[in-house]
Protein backbone atom coordinates (compact mmCIF):
# COMPACT_ATOMS: atom_id res chain seq x y z
CA UNK A 1 0.00 0.00 0.00
CA UNK A 2 1.28 3.44 -0.94
CA UNK A 3 1.70 5.72 2.05
CA UNK A 4 -0.16 9.00 1.62
CA UNK A 5 -1.62 11.82 3.67
CA UNK A 6 -4.85 13.73 3.20
CA UNK A 7 -4.57 17.50 2.89
CA UNK A 8 -7.61 19.70 3.39
CA UNK A 9 -7.85 23.40 2.61
CA UNK A 10 -10.75 25.22 4.23
CA UNK A 11 -11.57 28.43 2.35
CA UNK A 12 -14.47 30.84 2.52
CA UNK A 13 -15.99 29.53 -0.73
CA UNK A 14 -14.73 25.98 -1.20
CA UNK A 15 -13.09 23.23 0.76
CA UNK A 16 -10.52 21.22 -1.19
CA UNK A 17 -9.35 17.70 -0.35
CA UNK A 18 -6.32 15.92 -1.78
CA UNK A 19 -4.56 12.59 -1.33
CA UNK A 20 -0.85 13.41 -1.51
CA UNK A 21 2.17 11.14 -1.55
CA UNK A 22 5.50 11.81 0.20
CA UNK A 23 6.88 13.49 -2.95
CA UNK A 24 4.00 15.98 -3.07
CA UNK A 25 2.12 14.39 -5.96
CA UNK A 26 -1.63 14.89 -5.68
CA UNK A 27 -3.04 11.43 -6.42
CA UNK A 28 -6.67 12.45 -6.22
CA UNK A 29 -8.65 15.48 -5.21
CA UNK A 30 -12.16 16.74 -4.66
CA UNK A 31 -13.94 19.90 -3.68
CA UNK A 32 -17.11 20.73 -1.80
CA UNK A 33 -18.78 24.09 -1.29
CA UNK A 34 -17.88 25.52 2.11
CA UNK A 35 -20.84 24.91 4.46
CA UNK A 36 -22.76 28.09 5.23
CA UNK A 37 -24.38 26.96 8.48
CA UNK A 38 -23.53 28.20 11.99
CA UNK A 39 -23.81 24.86 13.68
CA UNK A 40 -20.34 23.42 14.13
CA UNK A 41 -21.49 19.79 14.33
CA UNK A 42 -23.50 20.06 11.12
CA UNK A 43 -20.63 22.03 9.52
CA UNK A 44 -17.95 19.46 10.30
CA UNK A 45 -20.28 16.59 9.43
CA UNK A 46 -20.33 17.77 5.80
CA UNK A 47 -16.53 17.73 5.88
CA UNK A 48 -16.13 14.39 7.62
CA UNK A 49 -18.52 12.83 5.10
CA UNK A 50 -16.26 13.97 2.25
CA UNK A 51 -13.18 12.75 4.13
CA UNK A 52 -14.79 9.33 4.46
CA UNK A 53 -15.69 9.31 0.76
CA UNK A 54 -12.20 10.23 -0.44
CA UNK A 55 -10.55 7.76 1.95
CA UNK A 56 -12.88 4.96 0.84
CA UNK A 57 -11.97 5.62 -2.79
CA UNK A 58 -8.26 5.55 -2.00
CA UNK A 59 -8.40 1.92 -0.94
CA UNK A 60 -5.00 1.19 -2.45
CA UNK A 61 -3.37 3.75 -0.13
CA UNK A 62 -2.44 3.81 3.53
CA UNK A 63 -3.62 7.12 5.02
CA UNK A 64 -0.82 8.20 7.39
CA UNK A 65 -2.52 11.31 8.69
CA UNK A 66 -4.71 14.28 7.89
CA UNK A 67 -3.54 17.90 7.73
CA UNK A 68 -5.87 20.88 7.57
CA UNK A 69 -5.18 24.47 6.58
CA UNK A 70 -7.92 26.80 7.79
CA UNK A 71 -8.27 30.48 8.66
CA UNK A 72 -7.34 31.10 12.31
CA UNK A 73 -6.50 27.44 12.77
CA UNK A 74 -4.91 26.85 16.16
CA UNK A 75 -2.29 24.10 15.91
CA UNK A 76 -2.06 23.52 19.65
CA UNK A 77 -5.78 23.17 20.32
CA UNK A 78 -7.07 21.89 16.99
CA UNK A 79 -9.59 24.71 17.03
CA UNK A 80 -10.72 27.30 14.50
CA UNK A 81 -11.07 30.56 16.39
CA UNK A 82 -13.09 33.61 15.34
CA UNK A 83 -12.56 33.07 11.61
CA UNK A 84 -14.02 36.16 9.96
CA UNK A 85 -14.88 34.54 6.62
CA UNK A 86 -16.42 31.30 7.91
CA UNK A 87 -19.96 30.94 9.24
CA UNK A 88 -18.91 29.00 12.35
CA UNK A 89 -18.30 31.57 15.06
CA UNK A 90 -16.34 31.66 18.29
CA UNK A 91 -13.91 28.88 19.17
CA UNK A 92 -14.79 25.67 17.32
CA UNK A 93 -13.20 22.35 18.44
CA UNK A 94 -12.69 21.41 14.80
CA UNK A 95 -10.41 18.39 15.11
CA UNK A 96 -12.31 16.96 18.06
CA UNK A 97 -15.59 17.10 16.10
CA UNK A 98 -14.02 15.50 13.01
CA UNK A 99 -12.47 12.71 15.08
CA UNK A 100 -15.77 11.96 16.75
CA UNK A 101 -17.60 11.91 13.43
CA UNK A 102 -14.96 9.82 11.66
CA UNK A 103 -14.67 7.55 14.68
CA UNK A 104 -11.05 7.22 13.62
CA UNK A 105 -7.54 7.06 14.98
CA UNK A 106 -6.03 9.21 12.25
CA UNK A 107 -3.68 11.86 13.49
CA UNK A 108 -5.32 15.14 12.44
CA UNK A 109 -3.45 18.44 12.63
CA UNK A 110 -4.51 21.97 11.85
CA UNK A 111 -2.94 25.36 11.23
CA UNK A 112 -3.63 28.41 9.09
CA UNK A 113 -3.09 28.33 5.34
CA UNK A 114 0.13 30.36 5.25
CA UNK A 115 1.72 28.12 7.87
CA UNK A 116 0.60 25.08 5.89
CA UNK A 117 2.15 26.57 2.75
CA UNK A 118 5.48 27.02 4.56
CA UNK A 119 5.34 23.40 5.67
CA UNK A 120 4.62 22.38 2.08
CA UNK A 121 7.67 24.32 0.92
CA UNK A 122 9.83 22.50 3.46
CA UNK A 123 8.49 18.99 2.85
CA UNK A 124 8.11 19.09 -0.96
CA UNK A 125 9.31 22.43 -2.33
CA UNK A 126 12.29 24.75 -2.58
CA UNK A 127 13.00 24.64 1.16
CA UNK A 128 13.78 20.93 1.33
CA UNK A 129 16.79 20.59 3.61
CA UNK A 130 16.44 24.11 5.03
CA UNK A 131 15.95 24.48 8.77
CA UNK A 132 15.37 28.24 8.98
CA UNK A 133 13.27 30.05 6.43
CA UNK A 134 10.21 32.24 6.07
CA UNK A 135 7.35 32.09 3.59
CA UNK A 136 5.34 35.15 2.55
CA UNK A 137 2.05 34.42 0.80
CA UNK A 138 0.64 37.20 -1.37
CA UNK A 139 -3.05 37.11 -2.24
CA UNK A 140 -6.20 38.74 -0.88
CA UNK A 141 -4.09 39.29 2.20
CA UNK A 142 -0.44 38.78 3.05
CA UNK A 143 0.19 35.71 5.18
CA UNK A 144 3.39 34.19 6.45
CA UNK A 145 4.82 31.04 7.92
CA UNK A 146 8.05 30.91 9.89
CA UNK A 147 10.27 27.86 10.16
CA UNK A 148 12.90 27.80 12.92
CA UNK A 149 15.07 24.76 13.56
CA UNK A 150 13.09 22.69 11.10
CA UNK A 151 9.62 23.27 12.51
CA UNK A 152 6.87 25.86 12.24
CA UNK A 153 6.83 28.64 14.81
CA UNK A 154 3.38 28.55 16.39
CA UNK A 155 4.20 30.84 19.31
CA UNK A 156 2.60 30.75 22.73
CA UNK A 157 -0.95 30.54 21.41
CA UNK A 158 -0.68 28.79 18.04
CA UNK A 159 -1.11 31.96 15.96
CA UNK A 160 2.45 33.15 15.27
CA UNK A 161 3.50 34.24 11.79
CA UNK A 162 1.41 37.30 10.96
CA UNK A 163 4.12 39.23 9.11
CA UNK A 164 1.45 40.75 6.87
CA UNK A 165 0.38 42.79 9.88
CA UNK A 166 3.72 44.30 10.76
CA UNK A 167 3.94 48.08 10.44
CA UNK A 168 5.23 49.34 7.11
CA UNK A 169 4.10 52.97 7.00
CA UNK A 170 3.08 54.40 10.39
CA UNK A 171 -0.19 56.26 9.83
CA UNK A 172 -0.41 54.86 6.30
CA UNK A 173 -3.21 53.15 4.39
CA UNK A 174 -6.16 51.54 6.14
CA UNK A 175 -5.81 47.80 6.64
CA UNK A 176 -8.59 45.24 6.92
CA UNK A 177 -7.55 44.58 10.52
CA UNK A 178 -8.30 48.16 11.56
CA UNK A 179 -4.69 49.28 12.10
CA UNK A 180 -3.37 51.65 9.44
CA UNK A 181 -0.11 51.13 7.58
CA UNK A 182 0.39 47.37 7.70
CA UNK A 183 2.44 45.56 5.07
CA UNK A 184 -0.69 43.76 3.88
CA UNK A 185 -2.34 47.02 2.80
CA UNK A 186 0.61 47.64 0.44
CA UNK A 187 1.68 44.17 -0.74
CA UNK A 188 -1.51 42.15 -1.10
CA UNK A 189 -3.18 41.97 -4.52
CA UNK A 190 -5.51 44.73 -3.33
CA UNK A 191 -2.52 46.70 -2.06
CA UNK A 192 -0.99 46.62 -5.54
CA UNK A 193 -4.24 47.98 -6.95
CA UNK A 194 -4.19 50.80 -4.40
CA UNK A 195 -0.61 51.63 -5.38
CA UNK A 196 -1.69 51.68 -9.04
CA UNK A 197 -4.46 54.16 -8.32
CA UNK A 198 -2.17 56.36 -6.25
CA UNK A 199 0.28 56.44 -9.16
CA UNK A 200 -2.43 57.10 -11.77
CA UNK A 201 -3.53 60.05 -9.68
CA UNK A 202 0.02 61.27 -9.06
CA UNK A 203 1.11 61.13 -12.71
CA UNK A 204 -2.33 62.10 -14.08
CA UNK A 205 -1.63 59.10 -16.34
CA UNK A 206 -4.58 59.08 -18.71
CA UNK A 207 -2.46 57.21 -21.26
CA UNK A 208 -1.70 54.28 -18.93
CA UNK A 209 -3.30 50.94 -19.81
CA UNK A 210 -4.51 50.90 -16.21
CA UNK A 211 -6.46 54.13 -16.77
CA UNK A 212 -9.13 52.15 -18.62
CA UNK A 213 -10.25 50.17 -15.56
CA UNK A 214 -12.39 51.18 -12.61
CA UNK A 215 -11.15 50.76 -9.06
CA UNK A 216 -13.73 48.03 -8.52
CA UNK A 217 -12.55 45.97 -11.48
CA UNK A 218 -8.75 46.39 -11.70
CA UNK A 219 -6.86 43.26 -10.58
CA UNK A 220 -3.24 42.45 -9.79
CA UNK A 221 -3.31 40.30 -12.93
CA UNK A 222 -4.26 43.34 -15.04
CA UNK A 223 -1.31 45.21 -13.54
CA UNK A 224 0.99 42.31 -14.36
CA UNK A 225 -0.21 42.15 -17.96
CA UNK A 226 0.16 45.91 -18.39
CA UNK A 227 3.68 45.78 -16.94
CA UNK A 228 4.65 43.03 -19.38
CA UNK A 229 3.49 45.37 -22.16
CA UNK A 230 5.78 48.07 -20.80
CA UNK A 231 3.17 50.27 -19.15
CA UNK A 232 5.10 52.73 -16.99
CA UNK A 233 2.58 52.98 -14.17
CA UNK A 234 2.24 49.20 -13.96
CA UNK A 235 6.02 48.81 -13.93
CA UNK A 236 6.26 51.32 -11.11
CA UNK A 237 3.62 49.40 -9.14
CA UNK A 238 5.94 46.38 -9.21
CA UNK A 239 8.96 48.53 -8.32
CA UNK A 240 7.15 49.95 -5.32
CA UNK A 241 5.62 46.64 -4.24
CA UNK A 242 9.08 45.06 -4.37
CA UNK A 243 10.46 47.89 -2.26
CA UNK A 244 7.62 47.58 0.28
CA UNK A 245 8.22 43.83 0.52
CA UNK A 246 11.96 44.40 0.91
CA UNK A 247 11.33 46.64 3.90
CA UNK A 248 9.06 44.10 5.56
CA UNK A 249 11.41 41.25 4.78
CA UNK A 250 14.32 43.22 6.27
CA UNK A 251 12.48 43.41 9.60
CA UNK A 252 11.81 39.68 9.41
CA UNK A 253 15.49 38.99 8.69
CA UNK A 254 16.52 41.19 11.62
CA UNK A 255 14.31 39.06 13.84
CA UNK A 256 15.11 35.61 12.50
CA UNK A 257 18.02 35.60 10.06
CA UNK A 258 16.47 32.94 7.81
CA UNK A 259 18.40 31.11 5.10
CA UNK A 260 15.78 32.14 2.56
CA UNK A 261 12.50 33.98 2.20
CA UNK A 262 10.05 32.33 -0.19
CA UNK A 263 7.32 34.32 -1.87
CA UNK A 264 4.14 32.56 -2.88
CA UNK A 265 0.97 33.67 -4.64
CA UNK A 266 -0.53 35.18 -7.75
CA UNK A 267 1.70 38.27 -8.02
CA UNK A 268 4.83 36.06 -8.20
CA UNK A 269 3.71 35.08 -11.72
CA UNK A 270 5.25 38.41 -12.72
CA UNK A 271 8.65 36.86 -12.00
CA UNK A 272 11.57 39.27 -12.04
CA UNK A 273 9.19 42.23 -12.33
CA UNK A 274 8.52 41.54 -8.65
CA UNK A 275 11.66 39.73 -7.49
CA UNK A 276 14.26 42.12 -8.93
CA UNK A 277 13.03 45.14 -6.94
CA UNK A 278 12.76 43.03 -3.78
CA UNK A 279 16.36 41.88 -4.11
CA UNK A 280 17.68 45.24 -5.29
CA UNK A 281 16.12 47.15 -2.42
CA UNK A 282 16.61 44.59 0.34
CA UNK A 283 20.34 45.09 0.76
CA UNK A 284 20.00 48.73 1.73
CA UNK A 285 17.63 47.84 4.56
CA UNK A 286 19.89 45.17 6.11
CA UNK A 287 22.55 45.38 8.80
CA UNK A 288 26.00 44.62 7.36
CA UNK A 289 26.05 41.22 9.10
CA UNK A 290 22.96 40.14 7.09
CA UNK A 291 23.82 41.60 3.68
CA UNK A 292 24.01 39.09 0.83
CA UNK A 293 22.85 36.19 2.99
CA UNK A 294 19.12 35.38 2.90
CA UNK A 295 17.95 34.38 -0.58
CA UNK A 296 14.65 35.71 -1.90
CA UNK A 297 13.07 32.88 -3.85
CA UNK A 298 9.80 32.08 -5.59
CA UNK A 299 7.85 29.26 -3.98
CA UNK A 300 8.21 25.93 -5.78
CA UNK A 301 4.65 24.92 -4.90
CA UNK A 302 2.14 24.83 -7.73
CA UNK A 303 -0.34 27.65 -7.28
CA UNK A 304 -3.46 25.53 -7.75
CA UNK A 305 -2.51 22.65 -5.49
CA UNK A 306 -0.45 24.53 -2.90
CA UNK A 307 -3.18 24.73 -0.26
CA UNK A 308 -3.95 21.01 -0.11
CA UNK A 309 -0.31 20.09 -0.62
CA UNK A 310 0.69 22.40 2.25
CA UNK A 311 -1.97 20.90 4.49
CA UNK A 312 -0.85 17.38 3.60
CA UNK A 313 2.74 18.33 4.49
CA UNK A 314 1.57 19.16 8.00
CA UNK A 315 0.50 15.53 8.35
CA UNK A 316 3.87 14.22 7.15
CA UNK A 317 5.60 16.47 9.66
CA UNK A 318 3.44 15.13 12.50
CA UNK A 319 4.32 11.61 11.44
CA UNK A 320 8.02 12.53 11.55
CA UNK A 321 7.62 14.05 15.02
CA UNK A 322 5.87 10.96 16.34
CA UNK A 323 8.47 8.54 15.05
Amino acid sequence: MKKVTLGIDVGGTNIAFGIVDREGNVLSKSTIATPQCNDAVQYTKLISNEIQTIINKADDCEICGIGIGAPNGNYYKGTIEHAANLTIKGIVPFIQLLKEQLNCTYNISLTNDANAAAMGEMIYGGARGMRNFVMYTLGTGVGSGIIVNGDLVYGADGFAGECGHTMLVPGGRTCGCGINGHLESYCSAGGMKRTAFELLAYYNANDSLLAQKSFATLTAKDICEAALQGDKVALEVFERTGDYLARGIADTIHHLSPEAVFIFGGPTAAGELLFAPIRNNLEKYLLPVFKGKARILPSQLKLGDAAIVGASALAWKELEKNQ
Copy 2:
Protein backbone atom coordinates in the same frame (compact mmCIF):
# COMPACT_ATOMS: atom_id res chain seq x y z
CA MET B 1 31.57 18.93 44.45
CA LYS B 2 29.08 21.66 43.61
CA LYS B 3 28.19 21.75 39.94
CA VAL B 4 28.76 25.20 38.41
CA THR B 5 29.33 26.87 35.06
CA LEU B 6 31.65 29.70 34.14
CA GLY B 7 30.05 32.73 32.51
CA ILE B 8 32.18 35.24 30.63
CA ASP B 9 31.05 38.62 29.36
CA VAL B 10 33.29 40.21 26.74
CA GLY B 11 32.76 43.98 26.61
CA GLY B 12 34.65 46.78 24.93
CA THR B 13 36.21 47.95 28.21
CA ASN B 14 36.21 44.97 30.56
CA ILE B 15 35.83 41.23 30.48
CA ALA B 16 33.92 39.80 33.47
CA PHE B 17 34.12 36.20 34.67
CA GLY B 18 31.78 34.50 37.11
CA ILE B 19 31.34 31.05 38.62
CA VAL B 20 27.56 30.51 38.73
CA ASP B 21 25.52 27.69 40.24
CA ARG B 22 22.34 26.18 38.75
CA GLU B 23 20.19 28.64 40.71
CA GLY B 24 21.99 31.64 39.23
CA ASN B 25 24.02 32.54 42.31
CA VAL B 26 27.38 34.09 41.45
CA LEU B 27 29.82 32.23 43.71
CA SER B 28 32.88 34.18 42.65
CA LYS B 29 33.77 36.71 40.01
CA SER B 30 36.66 38.63 38.55
CA THR B 31 37.33 41.21 35.88
CA ILE B 32 40.19 41.99 33.53
CA ALA B 33 40.62 44.94 31.20
CA THR B 34 39.63 43.99 27.66
CA PRO B 35 42.83 43.32 25.67
CA GLN B 36 43.59 46.08 23.19
CA CYS B 37 45.83 44.08 20.83
CA ASN B 38 44.94 42.97 17.28
CA ASP B 39 46.52 39.55 17.55
CA ALA B 40 43.81 37.00 18.26
CA VAL B 41 46.15 34.45 19.84
CA GLN B 42 47.62 37.00 22.23
CA TYR B 43 44.13 38.37 22.87
CA THR B 44 42.58 35.04 23.79
CA LYS B 45 45.67 34.03 25.79
CA LEU B 46 44.95 36.84 28.27
CA ILE B 47 41.42 35.47 28.60
CA SER B 48 42.38 31.81 28.88
CA ASN B 49 44.90 32.71 31.59
CA GLU B 50 42.13 34.30 33.65
CA ILE B 51 39.84 31.32 32.99
CA GLN B 52 42.56 29.01 34.33
CA THR B 53 43.05 31.21 37.39
CA ILE B 54 39.37 31.36 38.30
CA ILE B 55 38.92 27.62 37.71
CA ASN B 56 41.94 26.79 39.86
CA LYS B 57 40.52 28.88 42.70
CA ALA B 58 37.16 27.14 42.44
CA ASP B 59 38.64 23.78 43.40
CA ASP B 60 35.56 22.82 45.41
CA CYS B 61 33.39 23.09 42.29
CA GLU B 62 32.86 20.92 39.24
CA ILE B 63 32.95 23.16 36.14
CA CYS B 64 30.20 21.81 33.86
CA GLY B 65 30.86 24.17 30.97
CA ILE B 66 31.77 27.67 29.89
CA GLY B 67 29.43 30.19 28.28
CA ILE B 68 30.55 33.42 26.63
CA GLY B 69 28.58 36.51 25.70
CA ALA B 70 30.44 38.64 23.19
CA PRO B 71 29.58 41.20 20.51
CA ASN B 72 28.86 39.48 17.19
CA GLY B 73 29.39 36.09 18.77
CA ASN B 74 28.43 33.31 16.35
CA TYR B 75 26.92 30.40 18.24
CA TYR B 76 27.27 27.92 15.39
CA LYS B 77 30.93 28.57 14.61
CA GLY B 78 32.23 29.75 17.98
CA THR B 79 33.62 32.81 16.24
CA ILE B 80 33.53 36.53 16.95
CA GLU B 81 32.92 38.24 13.62
CA HIS B 82 33.67 41.86 12.73
CA ALA B 83 32.98 43.18 16.24
CA ALA B 84 33.11 46.97 15.89
CA ASN B 85 34.13 47.72 19.48
CA LEU B 86 36.81 45.05 19.90
CA THR B 87 40.38 45.30 18.58
CA ILE B 88 40.36 41.81 17.06
CA LYS B 89 39.18 42.21 13.49
CA GLY B 90 37.64 39.92 10.88
CA ILE B 91 36.42 36.45 11.83
CA VAL B 92 38.17 35.20 14.97
CA PRO B 93 37.92 31.47 15.89
CA PHE B 94 37.42 32.44 19.50
CA ILE B 95 36.37 29.13 21.04
CA GLN B 96 38.93 27.14 19.08
CA LEU B 97 41.76 29.37 20.33
CA LEU B 98 40.54 29.19 23.93
CA LYS B 99 40.26 25.40 23.78
CA GLU B 100 43.78 25.07 22.40
CA GLN B 101 45.17 27.36 25.07
CA LEU B 102 43.27 25.74 27.92
CA ASN B 103 44.06 22.29 26.57
CA CYS B 104 40.68 21.34 27.98
CA THR B 105 37.63 19.31 27.28
CA TYR B 106 35.19 21.90 28.66
CA ASN B 107 32.20 22.52 26.48
CA ILE B 108 32.50 26.21 25.51
CA SER B 109 29.63 28.05 23.83
CA LEU B 110 29.33 31.59 22.57
CA THR B 111 26.64 34.03 21.53
CA ASN B 112 26.00 37.76 21.70
CA ASP B 113 25.18 39.45 25.00
CA ALA B 114 21.45 39.98 24.35
CA ASN B 115 20.98 36.32 23.42
CA ALA B 116 22.88 35.34 26.56
CA ALA B 117 20.62 37.60 28.64
CA ALA B 118 17.54 35.87 27.19
CA MET B 119 19.03 32.51 28.10
CA GLY B 120 19.71 33.82 31.61
CA GLU B 121 16.06 34.88 31.91
CA MET B 122 14.94 31.38 30.89
CA ILE B 123 17.32 29.41 33.10
CA TYR B 124 17.29 31.58 36.24
CA GLY B 125 14.88 34.50 35.79
CA GLY B 126 11.28 35.42 35.12
CA ALA B 127 11.01 33.17 32.07
CA ARG B 128 11.56 29.88 33.90
CA GLY B 129 9.09 27.41 32.44
CA MET B 130 8.35 29.56 29.40
CA ARG B 131 9.05 28.10 25.96
CA ASN B 132 8.30 31.14 23.79
CA PHE B 133 9.39 34.62 24.82
CA VAL B 134 11.48 37.56 23.68
CA MET B 135 13.95 39.71 25.60
CA TYR B 136 14.66 43.33 24.71
CA THR B 137 17.82 44.81 26.25
CA LEU B 138 17.97 48.59 26.52
CA GLY B 139 21.36 50.23 26.93
CA THR B 140 23.87 51.90 24.63
CA GLY B 141 22.02 50.02 21.92
CA VAL B 142 18.87 47.92 21.83
CA GLY B 143 19.55 44.19 21.66
CA SER B 144 17.21 41.24 21.69
CA GLY B 145 17.11 37.52 22.21
CA ILE B 146 14.32 35.30 20.92
CA ILE B 147 13.32 32.00 22.48
CA VAL B 148 11.17 29.62 20.42
CA ASN B 149 10.24 26.15 21.66
CA GLY B 150 12.58 26.49 24.61
CA ASP B 151 15.75 27.41 22.77
CA LEU B 152 17.40 30.53 21.39
CA VAL B 153 16.74 31.41 17.78
CA TYR B 154 20.14 31.71 16.14
CA GLY B 155 18.87 31.72 12.55
CA ALA B 156 20.72 30.43 9.53
CA ASP B 157 24.01 32.17 10.40
CA GLY B 158 24.03 32.44 14.19
CA PHE B 159 23.12 36.14 14.30
CA ALA B 160 19.32 36.21 14.62
CA GLY B 161 17.62 38.51 17.14
CA GLU B 162 18.42 42.05 16.07
CA CYS B 163 15.05 43.59 16.90
CA GLY B 164 16.80 46.86 17.75
CA HIS B 165 17.40 47.27 14.04
CA THR B 166 13.84 46.85 12.85
CA MET B 167 12.31 49.92 11.20
CA LEU B 168 10.34 52.16 13.52
CA VAL B 169 10.14 55.47 11.63
CA PRO B 170 10.92 55.21 7.89
CA GLY B 171 13.28 58.06 7.10
CA GLY B 172 13.62 58.88 10.80
CA ARG B 173 16.64 59.46 13.03
CA THR B 174 20.13 58.32 12.08
CA CYS B 175 21.12 55.00 13.61
CA GLY B 176 24.64 53.81 14.41
CA CYS B 177 24.25 51.07 11.78
CA GLY B 178 23.83 53.60 8.98
CA ILE B 179 20.12 52.97 8.31
CA ASN B 180 17.80 55.75 9.48
CA GLY B 181 14.76 55.19 11.66
CA HIS B 182 15.60 51.97 13.54
CA LEU B 183 14.04 51.20 16.91
CA GLU B 184 17.47 51.49 18.54
CA SER B 185 17.78 55.17 17.62
CA TYR B 186 14.58 55.85 19.61
CA CYS B 187 14.65 53.38 22.51
CA SER B 188 18.31 53.07 23.54
CA ALA B 189 19.59 55.27 26.38
CA GLY B 190 20.93 57.63 23.71
CA GLY B 191 17.59 57.48 21.91
CA MET B 192 15.84 58.68 25.06
CA LYS B 193 18.27 61.60 25.24
CA ARG B 194 17.49 62.49 21.63
CA THR B 195 13.77 62.40 22.40
CA ALA B 196 14.39 64.68 25.39
CA PHE B 197 16.19 67.23 23.22
CA GLU B 198 13.50 67.11 20.56
CA LEU B 199 10.91 67.82 23.25
CA LEU B 200 12.94 70.61 24.86
CA ALA B 201 13.17 72.22 21.45
CA TYR B 202 9.48 71.64 20.65
CA TYR B 203 8.15 73.03 23.93
CA ASN B 204 10.89 75.69 24.26
CA ALA B 205 11.06 74.24 27.78
CA ASN B 206 13.60 76.46 29.54
CA ASP B 207 12.01 75.57 32.88
CA SER B 208 12.55 71.82 32.49
CA LEU B 209 15.11 70.19 34.79
CA LEU B 210 16.60 68.73 31.63
CA ALA B 211 17.25 72.23 30.24
CA GLN B 212 20.25 72.53 32.58
CA LYS B 213 22.28 69.81 30.88
CA SER B 214 24.23 69.80 27.62
CA PHE B 215 23.55 67.23 24.92
CA ALA B 216 26.94 65.69 25.60
CA THR B 217 26.27 65.20 29.31
CA LEU B 218 22.57 64.33 29.65
CA THR B 219 21.98 60.65 30.49
CA ALA B 220 18.96 58.37 30.61
CA LYS B 221 19.46 58.30 34.38
CA ASP B 222 19.09 62.10 34.51
CA ILE B 223 15.84 61.78 32.57
CA CYS B 224 14.61 59.14 34.99
CA GLU B 225 15.43 61.29 38.04
CA ALA B 226 13.75 64.32 36.50
CA ALA B 227 10.66 62.25 35.68
CA LEU B 228 10.45 61.02 39.27
CA GLN B 229 10.45 64.70 40.33
CA GLY B 230 7.51 65.31 38.00
CA ASP B 231 9.37 67.11 35.20
CA LYS B 232 6.93 67.26 32.30
CA VAL B 233 9.47 66.89 29.52
CA ALA B 234 11.11 63.93 31.24
CA LEU B 235 7.72 62.30 31.81
CA GLU B 236 6.91 62.74 28.14
CA VAL B 237 10.23 61.14 27.18
CA PHE B 238 9.09 58.00 29.01
CA GLU B 239 5.62 58.19 27.46
CA ARG B 240 7.12 58.38 23.99
CA THR B 241 9.78 55.76 24.62
CA GLY B 242 7.10 53.41 25.88
CA ASP B 243 5.03 54.05 22.77
CA TYR B 244 8.04 53.48 20.49
CA LEU B 245 8.79 50.22 22.27
CA ALA B 246 5.14 49.16 22.02
CA ARG B 247 5.25 49.61 18.25
CA GLY B 248 8.41 47.54 17.91
CA ILE B 249 7.12 44.88 20.28
CA ALA B 250 3.87 44.67 18.29
CA ASP B 251 5.85 43.74 15.17
CA THR B 252 7.74 41.14 17.19
CA ILE B 253 4.47 39.71 18.52
CA HIS B 254 3.05 39.57 14.99
CA HIS B 255 6.07 37.50 13.98
CA LEU B 256 6.37 35.22 16.98
CA SER B 257 3.41 35.46 19.35
CA PRO B 258 5.55 35.05 22.47
CA GLU B 259 4.12 34.36 25.91
CA ALA B 260 5.96 37.38 27.29
CA VAL B 261 8.35 40.14 26.32
CA PHE B 262 10.96 40.91 28.97
CA ILE B 263 12.67 44.28 29.09
CA PHE B 264 16.15 44.51 30.55
CA GLY B 265 18.55 47.38 31.16
CA GLY B 266 19.13 50.69 32.89
CA PRO B 267 15.95 52.47 31.75
CA THR B 268 13.78 49.76 33.35
CA ALA B 269 14.81 51.18 36.74
CA ALA B 270 12.12 53.79 36.03
CA GLY B 271 9.56 51.03 36.56
CA GLU B 272 6.00 51.94 35.64
CA LEU B 273 7.17 55.23 34.12
CA LEU B 274 8.40 53.02 31.29
CA PHE B 275 6.21 49.92 31.53
CA ALA B 276 2.81 51.65 31.79
CA PRO B 277 3.13 53.42 28.42
CA ILE B 278 4.40 50.23 26.77
CA ARG B 279 1.40 48.25 28.01
CA ASN B 280 -1.10 51.05 27.43
CA ASN B 281 -0.01 51.61 23.84
CA LEU B 282 0.68 48.01 22.86
CA GLU B 283 -2.94 46.91 22.60
CA LYS B 284 -3.78 49.40 19.88
CA TYR B 285 -0.98 48.05 17.69
CA LEU B 286 -2.01 44.37 17.97
CA LEU B 287 -4.29 42.24 15.83
CA PRO B 288 -7.41 41.19 17.79
CA VAL B 289 -6.11 37.61 18.06
CA PHE B 290 -3.06 38.85 20.03
CA LYS B 291 -4.70 41.45 22.27
CA GLY B 292 -4.28 40.89 26.00
CA LYS B 293 -2.00 37.90 25.55
CA ALA B 294 1.77 38.59 25.67
CA ARG B 295 2.84 39.99 29.03
CA ILE B 296 5.34 42.86 29.15
CA LEU B 297 7.61 42.19 32.10
CA PRO B 298 10.77 43.59 33.66
CA SER B 299 13.71 41.21 33.56
CA GLN B 300 14.35 39.40 36.83
CA LEU B 301 18.11 39.37 36.25
CA LYS B 302 20.23 41.62 38.46
CA LEU B 303 21.60 44.47 36.36
CA GLY B 304 25.22 44.12 37.54
CA ASP B 305 25.53 40.36 37.18
CA ALA B 306 23.21 39.80 34.23
CA ALA B 307 25.94 39.54 31.61
CA ILE B 308 27.97 36.80 33.31
CA VAL B 309 24.83 35.10 34.59
CA GLY B 310 23.39 35.09 31.07
CA ALA B 311 26.61 33.67 29.65
CA SER B 312 26.68 30.99 32.33
CA ALA B 313 23.09 30.05 31.46
CA LEU B 314 24.26 29.28 27.94
CA ALA B 315 26.54 26.61 29.38
CA TRP B 316 23.72 25.04 31.43
CA LYS B 317 21.58 24.93 28.30
CA GLU B 318 24.33 23.15 26.35
CA LEU B 319 24.63 20.63 29.15
CA GLU B 320 20.88 20.01 28.97
CA LYS B 321 21.06 19.56 25.20
CA ASN B 322 23.90 17.06 25.48
CA GLN B 323 22.17 14.94 28.09
